[in-house]
Subunit: 174 residues, 2 copies
């Protein structure tokens, strides 16, 4: 059954640094009109990075919406027009100092397809050279490196609370 | 290193049916002030439901932000004050007609912790009885049941593009 919703009107509510918000009037499959609240986001990348010792590179940062520190894989937002694979190399280098020579695409997914256009591309990087990290001046994070056994323990305690990181770790460690 | 961001001001931009939007002025660890664009969402649940034949219950629905049909596990939003496990039973019944006698909590996670307060609780349900589905009048979806081998094929083709569904399937099928 085809369930497309046709847009009748689109009202821009907010244009920000990271997200925009619009409310669309759409026609449902039964002909009724409803509204859809849609957050526009340019998308991003995340990197499951494994160093030469087999350790997984993680970053810990304060996430204002969660009001706490979260332990995540390295990630970042796509610049306008930027290729995901180039963004992944750039973000990994900026956040952790690691240079990835080769990246393998694993999955692309919508974190919140009910209300957000954000799409995330996940890459595997296991051919790493150590360079120098260079975080944005307003970006603050702690870099950690964990063995697979350490990560399993962290997951079992429920301390991985970020969707993209769960996807990467469940893919890798089972 | 403690990296808490202290809120100085909070400005409500929009209050909607599903989400609200606010922009916070926060103090960074270096003392500088910046803004955080934050989507408020009441959170939700998702259910990895396995029927008596070992098939995985999936729902296919049009996702306006993605402008296409996505194949996902059953899921839904928490009502105000609703317990996640009660919400999971209700949503599974409404969307698929299955009654779950027992649910096991697997993970709770933020789909988009960079800008959204949404938290999702994922449950496993493998003790199902068939009841009668009862979708919301403005909710349109197709229910499918797949064997593990069929799901593996669908994943390998890159046709699972929803984060919570990838988490559930990677947990279950590997």
């Amino acid at each position: 059954m085809e369930l497309t919703e046709v847009t009748k009107n689109s009202n821009i509510i907010f244009s920000g640094k990271i997200i925009n918000l619009r409310v669309d009037d759409v026609v449902l499959p039964n002909g009724k009109i409803t509204t859809r609240e849609i957050v526009e986001h340019n998308g991003g990348v995340s990197i499951l990075a494994i160093n030469k010792s087999g350790k997984i590179i993680m970053v810990e940062q304060y996430r204002k919406p969660a009001e706490k520190m979260l332990l995540e894989i390295p990630a970042g937002k796509l610049n306008i027009g930027e290729e995901p694979i180039e963004c992944a190399k750039r973000e990994l280098m900026e956040e952790t100092g690691y240079i990835a020579k080769e990246l393998k695409h694993l999955f692309s997914f919508y974190p919140s397809p009910g209300f957000s256009t954000e799409i995330l591309h996940l890459f595997l990087a296991n051919d790493l050279e150590k360079g120098v990290s260079n975080t944005d001046p307003d970006e603050f994070l702690n870099v950690h490196e964990y063995t697979v056994d350490e990560i399993k323990g962290i997951m079992q305690k429920g301390l991985i609370e970020d969707a993209k990181t769960l996807i990467a770790l469940l893919y890798y460690i089972k």
